[in-house]
Subunit: 111 residues, 2 copies
DNA sequence: CCAATATACCTCGCCTGTCAAGGTATTATT
DNA sequence: AATAATACCTTGACAGGCGAGGTATATTGG
């Protein structure tokens, strides 16, 4: 297990929803953006990414459609739904309170 | 899955090490302290707690010994090792950088 | 006195998210 | 012609969390 994988676990869907919040995107691009945003410190593994897409689509938080590029490899674009947006906000709130809770639980006085 | 379970995943060991950092303790007490610290918002499930103890002991981060109470149910006390302490510090550092990374990845500009 | 509750430990087996490994297809570069 | 980059996908294993079940002792309310 890499350093951060278990700490990131559970955030994959939020990360994807965040990427899709402003504009539709596709798997390969989303992952590149994540790598850029973290300066290479983190990337989603493909299997993780695609299984997250399946879950999110099944849950109605994203929709997908094939791009109409007439050159290059085909792309499956994903679009966040209204439900996806409200879930995103919920996830952010959960993260903020979880963050506080974890901080309080792992802190040792005077260390 | 409860609200926080997947967000807490991966912090169980750090939480336990933090509890043991200042004084030896035992499973039941550790869990009570966690519930108090979080005002009942969180508790470790027993199966989670004990499997974490097994992992931590196997990894040499904690030692255990039976308490010598001559009344009440027997208690198995756990003690953090030197290796456990240094690992605790490493985990805290990892958490701090993971926290920053997650924050930057799930933020949407202007939302 | 005895039933219920609290204290305190433990294991088994399932579930879920991650990921290594493997695959396909197209286009650009060397 | 070979390699790399783009772009998609599935399968099966693994690990941590946890529901469900179990054991034993002490206390407390009715």
């Amino acid at each position: 297990m890499s350093i951060t994988s278990d700490l990131i676990r559970g955030h994959t869907e939020t990360i994807i929803l965040a990427q899709l919040y402003n504009h539709d995107s596709y798997g390969y691009e989303i992952n590149k953006e994540i790598q850029q945003r973290t300066k290479g410190k983190y990337e989603l593994k493909e299997a993780t990414l695609y299984s997250a897409f399946r879950r999110l689509e099944k849950a109605g938080l994203i929709d997908s459609y094939w791009g109409d590029e007439n050159t290059g490899a085909r792309r499956r674009y994903y679009k966040i739904t209204e439900s996806g947006k409200s879930n995103y906000h919920r996830l952010i709130k959960e993260w903020n309170s979880a963050k506080e809770m974890i901080d309080s639980l792992i802190k040792v006085e005077g260390v």
